[in-house]
Amino acid sequence: MLTSLTAPALLGLFMATALLVALTDWRLNLAALAGLFACAAILLAQITLWQVVAVRLLVGLLIVVILALTGRATQFGLALSPCFATTRFTIPTGFPFRVMALTLVSLAAWYTANQPALALPGLSSDLNLASYLLMGLGLLNLGLSEEPLNAGVGLFMLLGGFQLFYFAIEPSLAIVGLLAAVELGVALVVSYLATLWYMPAEESA
């Protein structure tokens, strides 16, 4: 049954990462991030125990909650936006560039995943593609933004891609626990830095 879900999960993963790279609106990005964690968990279920998948899902849920609370406290980053009054989703200024970069990195990830010499060990071709895609687009997102939440999303994508590969070769529970702690640490760091980034000037004194 899980194998039949691979293709939809891979497609969902690509759509979620594409949204995370192409758009910078927190509200949409949080939903995309939740989708990314769910799709990654379905893919992960093929190579590891269900308990590990459950831990990953729980950690993902906690991360989304932490970031949603941060978003609420900072008005989803709209306080510093020139169109503060609006609640409509807006397209970021570098949208065409982001889409072009997204396409190029996705093609590079697809090409790399299909090279036998560069295939990650212990993974099927679908998981190879998912891992390269997440790591590549995560790095792209890190390069595109120094705003803490968008950069943080890049870190989650990078770590997600790495874990897909790493859990296949190192399934020990201690490592699963420590990597979960690392992800929660990233969420707290992103939340803290985003709060400082969007803090009104008068509160900073």
Partner: protein, 478 residues
């Protein structure tokens, strides 16, 4: 009772105590500095695998299939981490530090201890990453809202962790098929990239000047001293554990190239600085370059020089942090509406804050290995070695020292030249008033300056301990 548990649990309990007593600054500082100093002392004196004070102390502790072991090689590194942290915690009493500095600093010590103890030691990368996450809270706060440096630091540490973990898996694969040259090449490459990122080797150095310029000065000192030691010790442990790695001439070439490159870049970038914060970032590039060049020599003398630089960096950075906090505070209080770290903002401040100004300048000179300062003996020993094997790298280091000297001269000139709009101060009365208002601060500055100068004159006080640590890493291989 497992001995590693003491170094993991005591800092965590002390952190809780410090957090609860944070309103009483003397008590919180005393608790943080006292517990760190006590653990530093215990690190070198605690007997292992025998009974001590009625407790049976085991050197190893197994948890979830991983072992945490306190080995003789870890003792001095551990002691250095805790003593250096104690010094910084004490300094925090004299300035207004980041509000998380003491409690999170203690928690970071606990994680760094775990990084030193964990076996297989590649998993140290996970503990270093967790420590980096906590360090972000020290590097930015409501008064230091530029998050760029803290974010870059954290992103680079995360990338470094990924590469080191992949190396760990490749090393396991090499054990099962040692004749596979491809695996060896890949492991060497991922290890080199991982450590280049963690140590801040160019082009992964961009967080260094930003953190040094925008983060609280004592937090910067904490990250650049206490948190760097386990990373450097980890590199040395890798080189010592895997013969195919330490005997690979390519590794020495890579270390020399990276070290020389860092020294040259640090020297070139620092010379144009008009800001003591950014200047420190580039001085640290020079210092990291010197450490890598020492390790790249592959000799006991080279390793000793690298460890000496690492050990003496702490005193100079504590002095820099204390002086910078004081000068930044004075620049802010004077209401000058410019970058508070820029030399123009500090014009004339040396007359009002003479000890802070002297300490900042002296500490930068010490970090650059200037003669008569604590940084000189290690740098001189390294230059002697390099002059015979890699003279170009020695020249880069000398160029760096000269560049830092130039920046310090320029900064000193700004510090002692008053603004034309400010009333002329009568130096003797200003100094008398400052001394009466800042007795404790003056004692701290005097002690730090004295130690920097004395260790420059009598390095033999410290060198035997450094040589003992170096001998663990360059032990003859079986």
């Amino acid at each position: 009772m497992p001995a590693p548990l003491i170094f993991l649990v005591v800092p965590a309990i002390a952190a809780l105590g410090v957090y609860l007593t944070s309103r009483r600054r003397w008590l919180a500082t005393g608790l943080a500095a006292g517990s760190a100093a006590l653990l530093g002392l215990l690190a070198v004196t605690i007997p292992l695998d025998e009974t001590w004070l009625g407790l049976s102390l085991d050197s190893a502790w197994t948890i979830l299939g991983r072992t945490l072991t306190l080995e003789p090689v870890d003792r001095l590194g551990l002691a250095f981490i805790f003593v250096q942290a104690a010094l910084l915690f004490l300094a925090a009493r004299l300035v207004e530090p980041n509000r998380f500095f003491l409690p999170l600093g203690l928690l970071i010590l606990s994680l760094l201890s775990a990084a030193l103890f964990v076996q297989p030691f590649v998993f140290a990368a996970l503990f270093l990453e967790l420590a980096s996450a906590l360090a972000v809270f020290l590097l930015a706060d409501e008064r230091h809202r530029v998050t760029r440096g803290a974010l870059r630091f954290f992103v680079f540490m995360t990338l470094g962790m990924i590469f080191i973990l992949v190396t760990g898996w490749l090393l396991e694969a090499i054990k099962s098929s040692p004749e596979d040259a491809t695996l060896t090449r890949r492991a060497t490459l991922t290890l080199a990239i991982g450590f280049a990122i963690v140590l801040g080797v160019a082009p992964f150095h961009s967080w260094l000047p930003v953190v040094a310029e925008h983060a609280p000065a004592l937090s910067t000192a904490f990250v650049l001293t206490v948190m760097r030691v386990p990373a450097v010790l980890l590199v040395m442990q890798f080189l010592n554990t895997y013969p195919w790695l330490s005997q690979n001439p390519a590794i020495e070439r890579v270390l020399t190239l990276a070290g020389g490159g860092m020294a040259l870049l640090g020297a070139v970038f620092v010379v144009s600085q008009r800001n003591f914060g950014r200047a420190l970032g580039y001085v640290m590039m020079l210092d990291i370059g010197a450490t890598l060049l020492g390790l790249g020599l592959g000799t006991v003398a080279g390793t000793e020089a690298a460890l000496t630089a690492l050990a003496l960096r702490g005193i100079a950075l504590t002095a820099w942090g204390l002086g910078m906090e004081q000068l930044r505070g004075a620049a802010r209080a004077s209401g000058r509406q410019i970058d508070p770290d820029h030399f123009d903002a500090w014009r004339g401040l040396g007359r009002r804050q003479p000890w802070a100004a002297a300490t900042v300048v002296l500490s930068l000179l010490s970090l650059a290995g200037f003669p008569l300062t604590a940084g000189f003996p290690g740098r001189w020993a390294l230059l002697n070695q390099l002059a015979q094997i890699h003279p170009t790298s020695a020249l880069f280091l000398l160029f760096g020292t000269a560049s830092v000297g130039l920046v310090c001269a320029r900064g000193l000139a700004a510090l002692i030249t008053p603004l034309a709009t400010e009333p002329e101060l009568e130096p003797a009365s200003t100094l008398r008033r400052w001394l009466s208002e800042n007795k404790l601060v003056m004692v701290a500055y005097s002690l730090l300056v004295l130690v920097i100068l004395l260790l420059g004159l009598f390095p033999q006080w410290l060198l035997p301990a450094v040589a003992r640590t170096a001998s663990f890493f360059i032990a003859p291989l079986p």
